[in-house]
Amino acid sequence: MLKLEQAVITQDDFSLRADLSIEPHKKYAVIGPSGAGKSTLLGALCGFVPLAHGRLIWDGRDITDAAPGARPMTMLFQDNNLFPHLSVMQNVGLGLRSDMRLTADDRAEVESALSRVSLADMADRKPGSLSGGQQSRAALARVLVQARPFVLLDEPFAALGPALRNEMLDLVQQLVTETGAALIMVTHDPKDVARIADEVIFVANGIAHAPEPAKELMDNPPPELREYLG
């Protein structure tokens, strides 16, 4: 269980309050108007944005001040999820060892992750020579080897076409189901919510609301959410 307790995130004159819990093995969609602070919320969970007040608790441990790499989560950003100068193998390998000293076992693990995302024969390629979908798969392979209990997606597939995006979301869904990780994804699209999410975190007017079951919320949205959904 990951808990944001009485958290306040401030950036310049923007502020976001959050008091919510994320449970393991569940899939959350974060929705809300643009500029409401969806990415900021994920950034705060991941340790890129400091909390002005409040605490972040994971299984009873206070990880408010932990470095991003030391948290139980892995995040895919909107872009730049791969180092363009490193091979796919190296990019994925960094998820296992940040000093890149890969043992034979490590390499085998990277290779099996790559074949899980159908990139087995792309290990030595650089990201620049892959298609957009393949780049996303490579990043997902790294998420797989990192094997953290929480996977955060900040719209990493936004640049892909609709069909490819759905394919990626399905793949993500399969992967987190296999690994048992919780998924927290930012999205604009109510269809994504219906496709994946168990719960919805609605972010608007400076508040990140506590998660509510997706189906009930979307079928019967409160006024603010109805206004956003249009």
């Binding site: 030391a70 363009p84 490193l86 000093d99 890149m100």
Partner: protein
């Protein structure tokens, strides 16, 4: 609550910066102990100060003004060889001063090509020595720099503005007033300030073309006080004057100096619709033609004369060449050790003002640092024995501000784009350098190494203070040959020096860019 640590530790960077400041401050303190202020500044010293400021001001104004028509022509004309010419504009920056001086002497000297032509026409001949020689050489070095800076500024003007101007059928005068003048007003003062600062600490040009009571720079006066009179007190006082003068000028200039982009893209002209025929065309042809001749004639002179003299070069030249290559390599190594951590610190710092630390190297003149360290070393060891290490170190310090200007912007980008990803993967400290920063910056690192190597290779400064017959670099050896009127051998040495400087630059720059990923 503090922001979480960046991917780069700032400790080593601050340490390297402290070392740089410490090395320079130690020299200043050493100089201070020897300065006997009772003696004050003599009339000769005042005239050196006046001359230094005067020649730097004229050189700066002339270079900046002459660069305008050349940059304007290059920005709007397309012709075969344009790319090569723009590339050659970068050459004087890594051209050893002493080599350029020999080239200028061949063209403009007493028995040079220009005077031969003049006397053939029964016109009075010109002398290159004194103020106009010093200014001529400074313009030779800085006109191309100014042209590049302005060309770069011209090319940042959005093409849409020129398209609009074409649509409105504006006259060349109106285009100049509405589009080009506002840009020039921003870029010209900074360019002139940069050249002014560079010329303030000019030594080798003044040594070879100046001299005498009426054409001595402070830097040259330090050398003379040190070398001929061994008057440490006077050298010390002059060093302090130089530090105050160049330091305050550099600090003032810091705020207006444009960023020196060494990147590509300048060889591609924008499509322009206002490049008309007629008078405009003639003006452009003249600007490019005269500019190219002024740059190419001395370069050509070095090559033709050097080829003739290369067989006459004594063994001492080859020996000095070997020494120089060694000094250059040590310089490059020292530069990397200092510049990379400092760049890391500056790139992650919130305030850009820490970049000023790098400028410290410009403000402190090489001869002042040399004098200071001579005084420091003297009680413990023979400074002459340490001539080469001190030269390598000072050369690295001189190259440091340029290296920082080259390394910091791409490193800042890298931290911005890949910083979060690196942190999420716990890539910090050495792994971050090893797997992210160094591979991303390889082209710039290669460029900075090449630049440092070439600058060090061609430097005639500190080594002139310390050296004896046994320990000498190629530029100094060449200067000695010129001093003893062995001009053919000197020309041969010049060609070797030119080839080595350009070669070192080319090899490192090429190695950096080879297989570099976008």
């Amino acid at each position: 609550m503090a922001l979480r640590a960046f991917a780069i530790s700032t400790k080593t960077g601050i340490g390297a910066a402290a070392l740089v400041v410490g090395l320079i401050l130690a020299a200043v303190c050493a100089v201070l102990t020897r300065a006997e202020f009772g003696s004050g500044l003599g009339p000769a010293d005042w005239s050196a100060i006046r001359f230094t400021v005067f020649q730097a001001a004229i050189s700066a104004v002339l270079s900046s003004l002459l660069a305008i028509p050349i940059a304007r022509a290059l920005a709007r004309r397309q012709f075969p060889g344009r790319g090569l010419l723009v590339t050659l504009l970068g050459a004087p920056f890594i051209l050893p001063v002493i080599v350029a001086v020999l080239g200028l002497l061949t063209v403009f000297g007493r028995a040079g090509w220009l005077n031969m032509a003049l006397s053939a026409l029964n016109l009075p001949t010109l002398s290159i020595y004194g103020l106009h020689g010093v200014v001529l050489a400074h313009v030779f070095f800085n006109l191309p720099l100014a042209t590049r800076l302005m060309l770069q500024a011209w090319q940042t003007i959005p093409a849409e503005r020129f398209r609009l101007a074409a649509q409105l059928d504006l006259t060349p005068r109106a285009v100049f007033q509405s589009i080009e003048w506002p840009m020039l007003r921003q870029i010209v003062p900074g360019t002139a300030a940069l050249i002014f600062v560079i010329c303030l600490t000019s030594f080798a040009v003044a040594l070879t073309l100046g001299g005498g009571p009426r054409a001595t720079t402070i830097e040259l006066a330090i050398y003379q006080a040190f070398r001929f009179d061994f008057d440490l007190s006077r050298a010390a006082i002059l060093s302090l004057v130089q530090l105050a003068l160049a330091g305050s000028a550099a600090l003032l200039a810091l705020w207006i100096i444009p960023s020196v982009s060494m990147g590509g893209g300048q060889d591609r002209p924008r499509q322009r619709w206002d490049a008309r025929g007629g008078v405009q065309r003639i003006i452009d042809i003249l600007a490019i033609g005269i500019g190219a001749l002024f740059l190419l004639l001395p370069l050509g002179a070095i090559v033709t004369r050097g080829l003739a003299g290369i067989l006459l070069t004594p063994a001492s030249v080859w020996q000095a060449a070997g020494t120089s290559v060694g000094v250059a390599m040590v310089s490059i190594a020292v530069l990397l050790v200092l510049a990379l951590p400092m760049a890391g610190w500056i790139a992650t710092a919130k305030r850009g003002s820490v970049e000023a630390v790098g400028l410290f190297g410009v403000a402190a003149s090489p001869l002042m640092i040399g004098t200071g360290w001579f005084i420091l070393i003297n009680p413990f060891a023979d400074p002459v024995a340490l001539a080469l290490p001190v030269t390598a170190l000072v050369n690295a310090l001189m190259a440091l501000p340029f290296a920082l200007r080259i390394l910091v912007p791409p490193l800042r980008d890298t931290v911005q784009v890949y910083g979060r990803l690196s942190q999420a993967l716990s890539l910090t400290g050495w792994p971050f350098w090893r797997w992210v920063a160094l591979p991303r910056l390889r082209p710039q690192i290669g460029f900075a190494m090449g630049l440092t190597g070439a600058l060090s290779m061609g430097d005639l400064g500190v080594i002139a203070l310390f050296a004896d017959q046994d320990r000498t670099t190629l530029p100094l050896q060449m200067y000695r040959l010129m001093g003893s009127y062995q001009m053919e051998a000197a020309a041969g040495a010049a060609l070797i020096l030119l080839a080595l400087s350009l070669g070192i630059f080319w090899i490192f720059d090429k190695a950096g860019r080879m297989n570099a990923e976008a």
